[in-house]
């Protein structure tokens, strides 16, 4: 369905949208989009990058799954401005973006863990002290409470990020050790 000129109804293909809706019913309302562009006019991401939410919506409505590979979907501020200015009821663009990013992750197109360095730190703090910072203002959560959060996050990406970091740290410390060993051998 790529390279289509969206002049007539035949250009639309809702299979892709249906697959997104399966997960999040609210995304169904995207079908109501009249392509007025109000959202783009008010969008902070559009002001500083090539991010164009109307184009993204149009791709989704044409069934063009290449949108999952577009780096653009990672530029949305999730600021909800578009929701406020959209003349149609119930179009939830930030939720659509989160859903598209999820699909992109699932297909392996999303940002790699290396691009998420900051999140790796935040994820590990959350799963060890219950906040996103070291030495939180009110102290760390008790072990029991952290255990509850850890259980809630079972099978979530946050855990893979956390594990990937631990594995990397292990690799780094192994590397350091063998480097030290080499150096001591040289010395």
């Amino acid at each position: 369905m790529t390279n289509v000129n969206i002049e007539s109804d035949e250009e639309w293909s809702y299979d892709f949208l249906e697959s997104l809706v399966e997960d999040i019913e609210e995304n169904r309302n995207i079908m109501q989009c009249i392509s007025c562009g109000k959202c783009v006019g008010e969008c902070p991401a559009a002001k500083i990058s090539n991010f164009n939410i109307r184009k993204i919506i149009s791709k989704v409505l044409r069934g063009d799954r290449s949108v999952l590979k577009d780096s653009d979907i990672w530029y949305c501020y999730l600021c909800e401005r578009c929701k406020r200015v959209c003349p149609k009821e119930g179009i939830n663009i930030p939720l659509l973006i989160i859903n598209l990013r999820n699909e992109s992750f699932k297909k392996g197109y999303g940002p790699k863990y290396n691009d998420l360095t900051k999140y790796v730190d935040m994820a590990s703090r959350f799963l060890t002290n219950g906040t996103v910072l070291d030495d939180p203002l009110d102290g760390e959560l008790s072990e029991d409470r952290v255990k509850e959060l850890d259980k809630i996050c079972d099978f979530a990406r946050i855990k893979y990020v956390f594990k990937a970091r631990n594995a990397n740290q292990q690799k780094d410390s192994d590397k350091e050790e063998s480097q030290e060993k080499k150096e001591s051998e040289i010395l």
Binding site: K47, L78, R81, T131, L133, L141, R157
Partner: protein
Amino acid sequence: MKVNNLAIDIEKIKEEYPENPLEFFKGKRLCLFKACLEKYFPGVRFGIKNLCEALDLKVNICEKQSCCSGTFFQRNLITRAQFAAINERNLNEINRQGDILLVSCNGCYNSLLRGRDFLKTPEVYKKTQEILKGVKEEMGGEKYPGQYEILDNPNLRVMHDLDFIYLIRESVINTLKYDLKGLKIASHYGCHYLNLDRDRDTETYLRDKRKLEDLIELFGGEPVDYSEREACCGWGASQIVLHPGDALKTTYSKLKSAENVEASFLLMPCPTCLYTLSKPEFRDQIEGLFEERLDIPTIHLNELIAILRGCEEEKCIALRRHSPRIHEIYETITKE
């Protein structure tokens, strides 16, 4: 089951207590939500706590509360059901010790309401229930009835600090020692206050929000308008971390626009926006990118209230020694 998003009904309080809305809060237990970024701005917590105590209101903090986890949901690191489960865990604990939850951060506020909103989707509700059941098993049962259940029509209500301060403004003014005379002040609301529709009807949702400007006027200052008033601070759900070169353009435009109208400082109701708009490293990066040094000071409403109440500088703007010209603002306001 009908899930309520727990936003407090401000209109109802105004109807029931038209003379003095503060009366509504008397005798109620107010719990202060711990926003992670308050660590960098302890004056934000201090300001609201100190104000409540001065008004003879009972305040507490919930030790068992975790981060709202909004940042992980926004980065697709947890699902909607996991996000809702983290939220329910927090609300459940807070509900035991508070009647009203006051929130100083737009991000946390949005998360608290959004987590409840997600439960309106039956599938998410079911998954959240299953997750909490798993936690209950893992923890070997509950310490109190309903600990690991979705809250069914709880007593607790959630309220943003700005809405709270605004609602009781006539009482707040009586506790202030200083005013804002001679100061021109620009307001920044932040996207997740400005664009939020969950707790508002369509009319107030679309209408200009002017609570900060009204408070500035009430405190004797002059609110000034600027072209980027409704613009984002640049945080953009971590865009400033992921694409700093781009996101800082947003921050630059915002600060520059407020400087252009000669605002003495920028007032806001959110520590995440405050972090973005005041962090010295971001100001340095902006100077590198745009060859212009911007030194407009920034301040959270709760910090400002503490200054106006005559609290010690160390308490009001603790840890902010490196924020641009913040000391100067403190000196100007507190000059006898």
